[in-house]
Amino acid sequence: MAVLRPAGEFDQSYAYDMATMRRRWQWLALAGFLALLYALPAYGSPSLVSFVNRAAMIIIAVQGLNILTGYTGQISLGQAAFMITGGYIAVLLVTRLDWNFFLALPVAAIGAGLVGLFFGLPSLRVKGFYLAMSTLAAQFIIPWFLRNAFPEVLNGAQGLNAPPPELFGVVFNQPGRFLYISLTVLIVTTVVAHNIGRSRLGRAFVAIRDQDLAAELLGINPFKYKLQAFFLAAVYAGLSGALFAFHLRHVNSETFSLNDSVILLGMLIAGGLGASVGPILGAVLIQGILELATMAGPAVSPFLPSAAAGAVQALRPLFFGVVLMVFLIFEPRGLAHRWSLIKAAWRLRPFSH
């Protein structure tokens, strides 16, 4: 009897079922994946645990950059300096004022955010290349300040040591335990970043990036929103830097450098600007490649006699450079774009081509 039903009726409910099933399936897959990550210390090698820790913290810094550069279109070369800022603030709050790490973490993030906002002020007047140059200033001024100012507090070039975080008697003194912190913060930052992307704030960012004249005519105050983007980017950097300081148990004025700011930008480009999965894909890929390069360094050094001594250092930038070139040429929209194509194809299965 089904043949007598008007065409299209069943299609609708079928499509509906498929959509809810897909959503349920996706949530289950995500929950399973997160469970696997949280359980990693039980079955993963120490080096894998350390890698996931590092990747999680780096992703957070790239997510911040994505808000500023990806959504709002403001290029920044200062992200590493705001990471150091967050690291110093968190360590000082814990060691000098006896704060708990978990209280110091958000305060350090906001502190770094305010410093980032200050260095975003030139965006009132300059754009593009000139703005990139002025964010570069942060990369020189902040480390200089930390090395030279208040030596009895900041301890000059030596920097500061950090105790392990502690909560309700649990001491997070090994990578396997620290993982719970870095993953949890990452989940929070990912949810927040994803929602910013879809909110009124995110729309304003995109409007400024794509059509700044039209954005202004519609009542968006570009300066206000650019500063908010600088603030948020530096809050994310501050979180990342504070986590790193307590993971490494140390921070100094060179813990993160201009080199890292550039790599973070490269990760964002490889992942895809202005998409919320971009930072995750880009950071994991590039960090993975960089660490493979470090491991491959000693293995190939016999074949590179002249560079043998510094083979490890020599190969990392080489790999980074090559990967970046490949992305710029073959996948300028980043892995996030590829990811959405794959998702679309999967949705159309079995009729995809």
Binding site: R200, R203, A204, A207, D210, Q211, L217, L218, G219
Partner: protein
Amino acid sequence: MLLHIDSIQTYYGSIQALKGISFTVDQGEIVTLIGANGAGKTTTLHTLSGILHPRHGSIFFEGQPIHTMPPHAVVRLGIAHSPEGRRVFGRLTVAENLDMGAFVRRDKAAIKQDLDRVYTLFPRLKERQKQLAGTLSGGEQQMLAMGRALMASPRLLLLDEPSMGLAPILVDLIFETILEINKQGVTVLLVEQNALMALSIASRAYVLETGSIILSGTGKELLNNPDVMKAYLGME
């Protein structure tokens, strides 16, 4: 008097683009500003909406001086501006673009009403709600730019060359819609190079030449003015 512009002079650096322009727009009118390329039409609209600020002179909207205000404050007073070249958000959908037009508003129910009004004015936009604005035709993008400006619920609508680059049949449609928008109570200041069309729907008109107003009158008067015919309508 809804809008009163009093001898404004606007500069780009040391280059003077407006050399002391004065005119008025009354409630409910369609006023048009015509002139050749580079006459200063866009500069005038940008000065009105606060993108540029006059070095001398003043602008009053409903008696309130607005010539030092930034654009985001001017929109909130009820002046919406559909810019030259449309400038729609290409990576957002039609519906999202219209939503952006209401950026400064919080009155959800009234926004919904205005959305319905825009979709009634431009049924084509309704059909294409979910399409990315960057993939619309030039005419559709123009409709979207006008619809987006209307979503701010303006009392004064500034239109910068809405007919630019459109086929004649679409030009007719756009001008009919401008009349319809005006009938619904929105005052319109229209900048055009298509003088014939602009003059035929305008209650009053001003002719701009290299930064100065050289002629003014009702639309009909200027349509019958031999100098205007020769200079702007290409007729002997």
